[in-house]
């Protein structure tokens, strides 16, 4: 039962991430939604799997997947956002500040 609740919360956060991907104005803000919501959503689903199966084979594998997901998604977001900036994609009109513009890259 607890496992089902935790998994439902995970799916809900994944949904928020997807809505953010559609609604936010530019690629930088979209990446924010995509990294945070989707990572915690997936971690929540994996935690649900761990609770459901306990410390058996599937549970331990879910536990191992959590830190892997954390590091890979943060590093991927960093690489994507930097690559996007260097490629020259403009930030949305709502942006108020850009300290990265004048830097030697």
């Amino acid at each position: 039962m607890i496992a089902l609740i935790v998994i439902s919360i995970g799916i809900l956060f994944n949904l928020f991430g997807c809505i953010g991907l559609l609604r936010l104005p530019d690629v930088y803000n979209r990446l924010q939604a995509a990294t945070k919501c989707v990572t915690l959503g997936c971690c929540s689903i994996l935690a649900g799997v761990l609770i459901h199966f306990g410390f058996t084979e599937a549970g331990i594998k879910a536990l191992v997947a959590v830190p892997l997901l954390f590091f890979s998604s943060t590093v991927a977001a960093h690489a994507l956002i930097r690559g996007t900036y260097l490629f020259g994609v403009k930030m949305s009109d709502k942006s108020v500040k850009d300290d990265y513009k004048d830097v030697e890259k």
């Binding site: 956060f13 928020f16 991430g17 809505i19 953010g20 609604r23 936010l24 104005p25 530019d26 930088y28 803000n29 990446l31 924010q32 939604a33 990294t35 945070k36 919501c37 990572t39 915690l40 959503g41 084979e57 331990i60 594998k61 536990l63 191992v64 954390f70 590091f71 943060t74 590093v75 977001a77 960093h78 956002i81 930097r82 900036y85 930030m91 949305s92 709502k94 942006s95 108020v96 500040k97 850009d98 300290d99 990265y100 513009k101 830097v103 030697e104 890259k105």
Partner: protein, 161 residues
Amino acid sequence: MRYVVFFILGLIFWLAVTFDISAANIVAGSAASLVCTLIFARFYFKGVQKFFHPARWFWGLVYLMVFVWACIKANFDVAFRVLSPAMPIKPGIVKVRTSLKSEFAKMLLANSITMTPGTLTVDIIGDDFYVHWIYIRSANPEVYTSMILGRFEKYIKKIVE
């Protein structure tokens, strides 16, 4: 020394993923772990003796709890911004300066920033972090530096340096 630690961590990881403690699997895991050690170990664990201080592990646990809490807050924050009809965003890239020195500490801090409310690390040049912020709350560099880094920097300093 660093090679030994790397090898053992690799072997533990292999056994956790395959979940099979037969002799054949341990030999295969050792071989895979040895190859990884020879290729990658020289990039990691500069001060490997730090690995055995209990105080660092304690601060690691504290940091983990702070981090998970910040992470959950981050999700509610982003969910709120995404779902509210007016969409309260004021995005921009700000420059913050860290006092951390080692590469590993900077990596940890950058990943923490990425997972916390509304901030995403774009680049690290020297000691400067360039952080994309979805809602810039303050124009004062000192204030936003402590808002972005303050929570984690002190713990990471205790763990790694």
